[in-house]
């Protein structure tokens, strides 16, 4: 089976670009810590309210300009909601679902994570720009899905 010369060049360039972009993607993901959120801890989805840290959801200052938000997602709300943090703070979100699958997205940032019952999902973000950020559920979770939203205010 012989390929046309022009086709060989076309494929070599194409495959070269693919290989290069895989190397860059892999480097960013693993060496620079940009891999997509993949929380590996589990939790009994029927006992979320009795399991630490979700027995006490809320915003906790854990260091200088560093916060942890322990959050429960349920149809159709976030607990806690209406979060406020100072400009420049790094926020670590620790989340789980009390019922069905939800999505946690903060518009205008790269925060985008699935939150599934049975697993604890984690994602972090530094908020450098002040403003009101819309937080919304981006996975269909039932009739009130479009109402599932809150805000993060960065001051």
């Amino acid at each position: 089976m012989k390929l046309h010369r022009a086709e060989e060049i076309w494929l070599i360039i194409g495959i070269g670009i693919i290989a290069l972009s895989m190397v860059i993607t892999g480097y960013q993901a693993f060496a620079q810590g940009m891999a997509p959120p993949s929380g590996m801890e589990t939790i009994d989805p029927q006992k979320v309210d009795q399991t630490t840290p979700f027995d006490n959801p809320g915003i906790f200052e854990i260091g200088e300009n560093e916060y942890e938000v322990v959050m429960i997602l349920q149809a159709f709300s976030f607990t806690p909601n209406e979060i406020e943090v100072p400009v420049g703070s790094t926020v670590h979100f620790t989340m789980t679902s009390r019922d069905v699958v939800h999505g946690f997205q903060v518009a205008g940032t790269n925060i985008n994570a699935m939150v599934t019952p049975g697993h604890i999902q984690k994602i972090s973000q530094t908020f450098d720009k002040p403003g009101e950020y819309l937080v919304l559920c981006n996975e269909y979770c039932g009739v009130g899905h479009q109402m599932m939203s809150t805000t993060i205010t960065v001051k």
């Binding site: 086709e7 993607t25 891999a35 993949s38 997205q105 985008n112 939150v115 805000t151």
Partner: protein, 552 residues
């Protein structure tokens, strides 16, 4: 054994037309639902009679994504097989059985959705729980399609026995690749439906393992898109050359690209679960790399297509750098519709590469961008090619002619589609980049400034959606014309031939054991360790939730 005659008999026509009827009825219903969605989301319409947005969305996704595509593809493939390798009486009987089983399954699922008992969207993610009959319906659709797989396998096998030293006809080879792909892929979703969802929805199992069900779904969900795409590629590789008066560019290359699709479209489902907890990040990345391998056969296809266009044009004497391009038969809808689909695949494929690019997925995951993406791939590239096939296949089957007038209506239909889709899909892509979520009813999200930026694009989507619905009405009209009213006559079943001096196709390309073996090997490589991991570290399962979808 009764010797099988090649070509399309009356009974073959009936068989394929049965599938095509279902496909076009689905097109109409599903299209209407799509129109309603865009209107609701623009904020200008609220649905009457207690119908919910999500019910309409479920109908739209199931009927267009699963019913229209599967019925059209299987019907088209039966026609290709009858034409190239023949079908026996007994095989035809089983083919009808596949149709009936699929139809019963479709009706069962549809009734549950219409009753509001299954507003779970076409992905039916656990632990949202639909009525058991919905899951039984899905199972029957899959089982029916398996019957079609085995009929097609048998057809090629029987042909091979009487044509020992010949290579199989290209189209028959492609059909069998697509059905092997489909069979291996649907094993995953069938396992989820039969082993997990049905017992759980009946109350025999108290809980369900959510991550396992999602992983099994996406093991199927990505090859599903290639099951849609490959029949379009069949038309591009082996039918369009004939329509434009050319020859197949390279039989071996076409077969090789289909083999690569079989190998690399299954072990890649994690690229739909990149932002999901519970899956090892290393394995996510490995599957991303495998996903990128599947770009290669698409690059090969793109090259073959344009090489074939150029060779054909130059042979006809059109000179200059782009003379061959200008003189393609743009006024023949059998070429024009699939060609527009092909051109749409350039942005569509690029978007797909972005979606699968690991961390880049965070930017667009579950936003309207994704919706915009697959309206370019399946609802433009694939669908316009299916329309392109319909313009000759339906009159061929019904013994009518594609008249000049219908041909011109088809040209208009294609332009309407391109315009409507550019507006709708374009604004979907942009609003997705701005953060607008997919699969959500109209919402002002508490009146925040960010969400108010999306509304203008949602209105644009309704404008595009309305134009597309006009396109659907026109296409249904064309379908009715070609089926019942066009003048009697004979329409060609175009199948392209190889060049007289074409290089022989190497035999290893038809080594089924080899390709299926490598396919299974790759699947085992990509899934064994992470899947065992998912099972070993499984959390307590989830109880059913029926109330969030209004099913209680």
């Amino acid at each position: 054994m009764i010797a099988t005659k090649l070509g399309i008999s009356k009974s073959d026509s009936k068989l394929t037309m049965a599938f095509i009827y279902v496909a076009f009825i689905s097109l109409f219903i599903g299209g209407l639902m799509g129109l309603l969605q865009t209107l609701v989301r623009s904020g200008s319409l609220s649905l009457p009679w207690g119908i919910t947005y999500y019910q309409v969305l479920t109908v739209h996704g199931v009927i267009l994504g699963l019913v229209l595509t599967t019925f059209f593809i299987i019907g088209f493939q039966y026609a290709l097989m009858a034409k190239t390798v023949g079908i026996s009486k007994k095989q035809r009987l089983y083919a009808w059985l596949s149709f009936i089983v699929m139809l019963i399954g479709t009706v069962m699922a549809a009734v549950m959705v219409l009753l509001g008992k299954a507003s779970v969207l076409y992905t039916f993610y656990a632990p949202l729980q639909a009525h058991p009959i919905f899951y039984f319906g899905l199972a029957l659709v899959i089982i029916g399609s398996w019957i079609a797989c085995f009929v097609n396998f048998r057809q090629l096998y029987v042909w091979k026995k009487t044509h020992k030293d010949e290579k199989s006809p290209l189209l028959a080879f492609m059909v069998v690749i697509n059905m092997v792909l489909w069979f291996i892929a649907t094993l995953g979703v069938a396992a989820a439906v039969i082993v997990q969802f049905i017992p759980w929805s009946l109350g025999y199992a108290e809980t369900i393992n959510v991550l396992v069900s999602r992983t099994l779904f996406w093991y199927f969900g990505h090859p599903l898109v290639y099951f849609w795409l490959l029949p379009a590629y069949m038309a591009w590789y082996a039918i369009i050359p004939k329509i434009i008066g050319g020859k197949i560019f390279s039989d071996s290359l076409a077969r090789l690209s289909f083999v690569l699709f079989l190998l690399f479209s299954i072990p890649v489902g994690f690229h739909h679960q990149l932002t999901e907890p519970g899956i090892d990040p290393t394995w996510k990345f490995i599957q991303v790399v495998l996903t990128f391998m599947v770009i290669i056969p698409s690059l090969m296809t793109a090259f073959s297509m344009f090489a074939m266009f150029e060779i054909t044009g130059r042979r006809k004497g059109f000179r200059g750098l782009f003379g061959w391009f200008k003189h393609l038969p743009w006024k023949d809808v059998r070429f024009f519709a699939p060609m527009v689909g092909m051109l749409a695949f350039i942005p569509a494929g690029t978007g797909g590469i972005i979606n699968a690019s690991h961390q880049l997925n965070n930017v667009i995951h579950n936003t309207m961008w994704v919706t915009g993406h697959f309206h370019l791939t399946v609802a433009t590239t694939v669908l316009l090619t299916f329309f392109g096939i319909s313009y000759w296949l339906i009159p061929h089957l019904t013994g009518r002619k594609l008249t000049k007038k219908i041909n011109n209506l088809g040209l208009i239909q294609t332009v309407i589609w391109a315009v409507g889709m550019t507006i709708m899909s374009g604004s979907m892509h942009i609003s997705g980049l701005l953060g607008a979520p997919r699969r959500s009813a109209f919402s002002e999200y508490g009146g925040t400034a960010q969400a108010s930026d999306w509304i203008g694009y949602q209105i644009a989507q309704a404008v595009g959606g309305t134009i597309l619905f006009i396109g659907i009405l026109l296409m249904v009209y064309i379908f009715l014309q070609l089926t019942f009213f066009a003048p009697k006559g004979q329409e060609e079943f175009p199948i392209a031939e190889e060049e007289v001096n074409a290089q022989p196709t190497p035999l290893f390309l038809e080594n089924w054991k080899l390709w299926i073996g490598i396919t299974i090997g790759l699947i085992l490589f990509a899934y064994t360790i992470p899947f065992i991991d998912i099972i070993l570290h499984a959390p307590t399962g989830s109880e059913p939730f029926a109330w969030p979808i209004g099913n209680s």
